[in-house]
């Protein structure tokens, strides 16, 4: 009886829940761990979580959440992979027109041209 009631309540909650507008996966949590630990393993997990968001967002036809392409570009920059970083900075601009000014500022700052 208790199980049935619990199931009914869970079903009710599921029916009422609005689907998320964007898919973040566990990228926020991985970002926190990378900031906190600042070691190779946690940064690598953070990168993998971002790659997962890019893939899943594309599969379900949602835009990649704001800032995540840029964050990925920053991680590539830290590895001196400047050409790839430039590609991801551009992706941020293409996905979100509001990013134009900030990305131009960052590309100038990190001497990546436009």
């Amino acid at each position: 009886m208790r199980y049935c009631l619990g199931l009914l309540f869970a079903l009710f909650l599921t029916a009422c829940a609005t689907p998320s507008y964007l898919y973040y996966g566990n990228s926020s949590h991985s970002y926190y761990r990378a900031v906190k630990k600042q070691d190779e393993k946690s940064v690598s997990h953070y990168k993998a979580s971002l790659e997962n968001v890019f893939k899943r967002s594309e599969n379900v036809g949602k835009p990649v959440p704001p800032g995540l392409y840029c964050d990925y570009a920053m991680l590539l920059l830290a590895e001196n992979r400047t050409e790839e970083a430039r590609i991801y900075f551009q992706k941020e601009k293409q996905t979100w027109s509001e990013a134009q000014q900030l990305i131009d500022f960052l590309m100038l700052r990190y001497k990546l041209g436009n």
Binding site: V35, P66, D71, A99
Partner: protein, 228 residues
């Protein structure tokens, strides 16, 4: 005489009804500037931590982007922005003034900045229960003129109670600590609930412009309970 009695009774009833009516505001009345000239891009400033928990600032900094992004705003990339603020000696949000705000518009293109103050971050333990209480205030300011566009505060209490036998008390205590001490997840959940129930939708969200008549408490404060 009857008329006077009837009138008095009606007046008393009206007064009682008014006193019992929930004190709420419609979002469009509470935050008219969010509807007249809605901001599109938001820059999250490093949170101000007034609590005694040193780590609370990082929990907030890393979880706010998702909470705001899900509301339909363009959230400026947190890591990139924070690294610029650190390099430029502007990481202390307490020193942000209208000139700094204008620079955030000029350099980053941010329409608004989010100030967050962590007022309380308290945990408590008993043998088979534990809780974490988080109180934070939020203010969204227009970078063009430093006007407050939106402000709110919330207290979230995360609690866990075990109904197991005390024979395993030590094990239970440790399990409770693990669940309640999953601070980042708890903080993300608290911020998601706060934004979800108090902030108007941004331009990119399918519900944008449709929430003007949604009610929020008159005091612009909510209390949330999370049972684990």
């Amino acid at each position: 005489m009857n008329r006077i009695l009837l009138f008095s009774f009606a007046l008393l009833t009206l007064m009682l009804l008014t006193a019992c009516a929930p004190q709420v505001l419609m979002m469009q009345d509470a935050y008219p500037k969010m509807y007249q000239n809605p901001p599109v891009s938001i820059l999250i400033l490093p949170p101000i931590n007034k609590s005694t928990a040193a780590d609370a600032k990082e929990y907030f900094a890393c979880s706010l982007a998702e909470a705001l992004g899900q509301k339909g705003y363009y959230v400026m990339p947190v890591e990139a922005v924070f690294s610029v603020l650190r390099d430029e000696g502007m990481y202390d949000t307490e020193n942000v003034n209208p000139t700094v705000l204008a620079n955030m518009k000029k350099n980053f293109g941010a329409d608004a900045v989010l100030f967050t103050t962590i007022e309380q971050w308290e945990k408590s333990w008993a043998l088979t229960s534990g809780s974490l209480t988080i109180t934070a205030t939020f203010a969204l300011l227009n970078t063009a003129n430093a006007d407050t566009l939106w402000d709110f505060s919330a207290t979230t209490r995360v609690s866990l109670q075990s109904d197991e036998e005390n024979i395993f008390a030590q094990l239970i205590e440790s399990a409770i600590k693990t669940v309640v001490e999953d601070y980042f997840s708890n903080c993300l959940k608290a911020n998601m609930m706060t934004m979800d129930q108090s902030m108007p939708y941004g331009k990119h969200h399918p519900e944008f412009g449709k929430d003007g008549e949604t009610s929020i408490p008159l005091e612009k404060h909510r209390e949330f309970e999370i049972q684990k």
